[in-house]
């Protein structure tokens, strides 16, 4: 899971790694963030049409059924695309990762040299502390 030293939230205005803004949580996705604090990645599935979706909603974006449920994701996937922005220790890598369950989500690639990452590479979830809020799922090479 998180390594406190390398991922410590930096104080406002100080140089150093990018601070991870705390997620602004809506009621319908509270379970996702509570699970993230426990080191578990959840994904939503629709009982009516069987499809997974992300970001998680009460209402299925595929069939509009309100009969959706939380499942624990395998926590593994592959890199769909990514880009590194910023310099030095403030550099960070925005990525899209496709989970085993089939949904693609926005995330960061962490604890790796992005120069060694390739599209299609297997990754696994890790959880990083945010700036005064819930833990945030990120991914690292599996």
């Amino acid at each position: 899971m998180s390594t406190p030293d390398s991922n410590r939230v930096k104080p406002a205005g100080a140089p150093g790694p990018r601070r991870i803004p705390a997620p602004r949580v809506l009621p319908e996705s509270q379970a996702y963030w509570t699970a993230a604090d426990e080191g578990r990645l959840l994904v939503k599935q629709c009982r009516a049409c069987g499809e997974f979706h992300h970001y998680p909603r009460d209402i299925c974006p595929h069939c509009m059924s309100a009969d959706t449920e939380w499942l624990q994701a395998a926590g593994t996937g592959t890199v769909y695309s990514f880009s590194t922005m910023g310099k030095g220790e403030a550099a960070y890598t925005l990525a899209f990762v496709t989970l085993e369950e089939g949904v693609t989500l926005m995330t960061n690639l962490v604890d790796c040299d992005p120069a060694d990452v390739a599209i299609g590479q297997p990754v696994r979830v890790v959880f990083k502390p945010s700036d005064g809020g819930h833990a945030v799922p990120m991914f690292t090479p599996a």
Binding site: R24, Y55, Y80, V103, T104, L105
Partner: protein
Amino acid sequence: MSLNGSACIVGAYEHPTRKADALSVVRLHADVARGALEDAGLSKGDIDGYFCAGDAPGLGTTTMAEYLGLKLRHVDSTECGGSAPILHVAHAAAAIAAGRCNVALITLAGRPRAQMAAAQAAAKDGKGRAPLALKPPDPDAPELAFELPYGPATQNLYAAVAKRHMHEFGTTSEQLAWIKVAASHHAQHNPLAMLREVVTVEDVLNSPLVSDPLHRLDCCVMSDGGGAIIVARPEIARQLKRPIVKVRGTGEAPKHGMGGKMDLTYSAAAWSGPLAFAEAGVTPADIQYASLYDSFTITVLMQLEDLGFCKKGEGGRFVADGNLISGVGKLPFNTDGGGLCNNHPANRGGITKIIEAVRQLRGEAHPAVQVPDCSLALANGIGGALASRHTAGTLILERV
């Protein structure tokens, strides 16, 4: 109801400023409204429809109607970012066809560059905090919690699309660079353009990496300013002295994360384009000039493929070797220098795309970049971000 022939663009005006230190946002909107009216040969009292998007101050259409003293019977504040004016032209044509107005004014303006400079100066003096380039995110946006922690910026969202395109189709940074090279060839003739120096593929590749694989010169400029368009009933257009530019085809479509079934290999232009071509009854091969949204080089490449100027995956080969340079290549694009070199007022490139298409159709582009006898042109907008959510608008215009 087809909008083909239902309305004409009778006025177009681009604000000359690129940094509006002493002009307010409302003043910029008013300046371009005056300019477009003068261009059309119309007066304020002729306007009975008004269109603006999120860049207008206050209550948008209401605030602007009050400032300009307009008496209106139709307003529309469709907001989808930089493509909004393209949708506004279509919506104005629809409103005219429905008898809801006769003369519609569309304005876009802003001063993000001056605002950024002022905020940076204040932060330096310890009087304020560093500025945001865009408005603060809406806390009610449902995607916010699932995106903001990861640092999505405009640059890395487009860069992720570029990287996927390279992976799927073998597109190269050199090919993307050709898009900037073409824009710079056009901008050298535009005295108002922010970047007038002709650049080479090597110049683009040697510029600093902003968000890999995009370099600084793959990005558009940031500028103040704006523009306005006036759309009128064809009967009115025929009474005016300007060349007649007819709305021939229109299309609009949003594309988003699709519940996680994401596919970054195409944009919403793949949906808006076919609607516009079907309404116009023409094909991409008929288009003599294209204004393509150029927030980044990859944006242009995606539209070329999605609008059907080349097959999916062949955009890199299509743009290489100057194919977008007027007088050199097969498809002259953004002959004013576009957002990549000329301006990108209010961080929104939609209105300037329409304006340059109108110039081309009237034969009023700079002689060095004017397409000979240009009678059919396209303007396309991408508002939002390619990798997350955006709305495309496609407009096909004809000089009659």
